[in-house]
Amino acid sequence: MQRTVFRNRWLPYLLVFPQVAVTVLFFFWPALKSLQLSLYRVSPFGDRTSFVGLENFTKLLGDPEYYQSVVNSFVFAGGVTLLSVAGSLVMAALATQKIRGLSVYRTLLLWPYGIAPAVAGIIFLFIFHPTYGVLPYFLSFITAYEFNWLLKGWVAMALVVTATSWTHLGYNIAFYVAGLLAIPGAVLEAADVDGAGPLRRFTAIVFPLISPITFYLVVLNMVFAFFESFGVIDAVTKGGPGDATMIMVYKLYKDGFIGLNLGSSGAQSVILMALVIGLTMLQFKYAEKKVTYR
C-alpha cells in the first residue's frame, strides 16, 4: 500500500529517538548480553565464564526433554490462542447485539483482564485444587473420572490453558467489541435487505471486516502464550506433573532465573526467539495479505 508521506530530513529521527533509545538501552543491550552468554559456561555468581562454543546448543538439541517442551509450547500456545480468540469473538458478538443492559454485560466480561497472571494462577489453583477446590468437588458428582492434575498430564495442561486463556479474554473482547461497534450499520442493513441470515452475515461481512483485529490478536495472544505466561504455570503446576506443562519459557525461567544456568538459558532464548520471529514473519507474509485494511 502506497502511503502519502511527509518530507523532513531530521524530524522522523527525532520522533523515533525516545523509543529507540529506550529500546536499545533496556532491550538490545541486555538482550545481546544474555544471548552472548549462550556461548559461555557461567558460574552462578557470574564471576567465572568460559567459552564453550555451541556446546549449550548441542546439549539442548540432544535432549529429548527439550523437544518435549517445544511440543508442549505449541500445544499450550495453540490452545490458548484458539480458546481465547475464538471465545472472545463469540462473547463480543453477543455483547454487541442491540439489547438492554449492554454496558453491564460488557463490564462483567472485561474486568477479569485486570487481574495479574500470578493472582489469576492463585485463584485457579484454589478453584481446581484436587482436595479443596470447588470444581473437582462438583465434577465428582457428574463423572467418576478423577481430574487429578497432580498426576495426569493432560488435565494439568487443560487447566493451565484454560486459566491463561481466561486472563487473555478481557483484552480480546475489548478489541472485538470495538471492532464490531465500528462496523457501519448501513453495511449490515444492506446485508439484511439481501436476506442474509445472522450467521451468513457474520461470516461473509463481519468477519472479513474485523480481520485486522483477528490478525493482531492472534499474533499477540500467541506471542504472549509463548513468552509471558509463566505466571499461571508457576502458580499452579510448576511445569509438572512429570514435565507435562513444562513449556519453553518456563523451562528457561527455571534454568536461568531459578537454576542460575545462564549459559543454557541464553541458548534457550536464542532458539525460542528464532522460533517466534520465524512464526511471526510467516504470519505477516501470508496472513497480512489476506487482512483487509480498507
Partner: protein, 298 residues
C-alpha cells in the same frame, strides 16, 4: 473503543459520508436467547472472581469446609483489615499506581511518536526501526531480567522509580498498535491536511490525536494493567519496603516455604485489594471510550 476499530469507523465515515442507519431490532425471543447466552458467558468468566471474593469474606474454617460454601460470609472487614495491615497495602498501592501511570503515559507518548514517524515518513532506516521495535516482542522477560538489572545498576537506578518504570517501556505492543491504527487512516485525510498547509506535527496533534483518543484510552488501560501487574521486575529492582508494589505485597501473604498452611481468606482479601484498582480503571475507561465511539458515530 480501540485502535483498529476507531480507525475503520473513521475511514467508513470519511469515505461514505453516510450516517449510520439504526438497525432493525431483533425479535424478542432472539433477545432472550442473547441475554441467556451472555449470562452464561459471564457466569463462566466471572465465577473465579466471584469465588475469590466469597473466600475473602469467610473465616478459615469456612474456606476448607466440605461441601464448599459458595456465598459470602461475615468476615469481610476483619480479613481486609488484616491483609491490609500485614501486607502494608497503603504504600504499596501508591507505588503500584505510580508505576502503572508512569509506564502507561511514558509508553503511549514514545510509541505514538515513533509509530507516527514509521508510518508517515519515508526515511533511511525506517524499516530497521520498525523491526527493531517489533522484535522486542520476541524475547521473553526472564532472559534479560538479569542483564537489564545490570544496566540499571550501571545507571545507578536501583531502588528508584525511574529504574522501576523506564525499562518497562521498552516493548513494542503500543507501537505496533499505533502503527496498525495509522495504517487504517485513509490517505485522503493526510492529503486534505497537506492542502490545508499542515506540517507533520500539526497533522499529528490536530488530525491524528483527536482520532486517537479512544485508541489512547484503550492503550492506557492495557499498559496501566501491564505496569500494575508486574512482579519479577519490581521484586528485583526495589530494595526497601517503601518502594514495594502491591503484587509483591500480595505474594508475601502466600506461604512459599511449604512449611505453613495458607490462609486463603487473607490471600483472597489481598488479591481483591490488588485487583480492584486495575479493574476500576477498566470499568471507568470502558464507559469513557464507548461513549467516545458513540459520539463519533453521530
Amino acid at each position: 473503543m480501540s485502535a483498529v476499530g476507531a480507525g475503520q469507523l473513521e475511514q467508513a465515515r470519511v469515505r461514505t459520508g453516510a450516517v449510520a442507519a439504526p438497525r432493525k431490532k431483533p425479535f424478542p425471543w432472539q433477545r432472550a436467547v442473547v441475554h441467556a447466552l451472555l449470562i452464561a458467558c459471564i457466569a463462566v468468566v466471572a465465577f473465579p472472581l466471584y469465588y475469590a471474593f466469597v473466600i475473602s469474606t469467610q473465616d478459615i474454617q469456612e474456606v476448607v469446609q466440605r461441601p464448599p460454601r459458595l456465598y459470602p460470609s461475615s468476615h469481610l472487614l476483619e480479613n481486609y483489615a488484616e491483609a491490609w495491615r500485614k501486607a502494608h497495602m497503603g504504600r504499596m498501592l501508591f507505588n503500584s499506581f505510580v508505576m502503572g501511570v508512569t509506564v502507561a503515559v511514558g509508553k503511549i507518548v514514545i510509541s505514538m511518536l515513533s509509530a507516527f514517524a514509521i508510518v508517515y515518513f519515508d526515511f533511511r532506516g525506517r524499516m530497521v526501526c520498525f523491526w527493531m521495535i517489533f522484535v522486542t516482542l520476541m524475547l521473553p522477560v526472564p532472559v534479560r531480567l538479569m542483564s537489564t538489572y545490570e544496566v540499571v545498576g550501571t545507571l545507578g537506578w536501583i531502588n528508584t522509580y525511574q529504574g522501576l518504570t523506564i525499562p518497562l517501556m521498552a516493548s513494542a505492543t503500543a507501537t505496533f498498535l499505533f502503527r496498525q491504527f495509522y495504517m487504517t487512516i485513509p490517505n485522503e485525510l493526510v492529503e486534505a491536511a497537506q492542502l490545508d498547509g499542515a506540517g507533520p506535527m500539526r497533522f499529528l496533534f490536530q488530525f491524528l490525536l483527536p482520532l486517537s483518543w479512544a485508541n489512547i484510552a484503550a492503550l492506557f488501560v492495557v499498559l496501566f494493567i501491564f505496569g500494575w501487574n508486574q512482579y519479577l521486575w519490581p521484586l528485583l529492582i526495589t530494595n526497601s519496603e517503601a518502594m514495594r508494589t502491591v503484587v509483591i505485597g500480595l505474594e508475601g501473604l502466600i506461604p512459599r516455604s511449604g512449611t505453613e498452611l495458607p490462609t486463603w481468606n487473607l490471600i483472597m482479601a489481598g488479591a481483591m485489594m490488588a485487583l480492584l484498582p486495575p479493574v476500576a480503571v477498566i470499568i471507568f475507561m470502558q464507559r469513557w471510550f464507548v461513549k467516545g465511539l458513540v459520539e463519533s458515530e453521530k
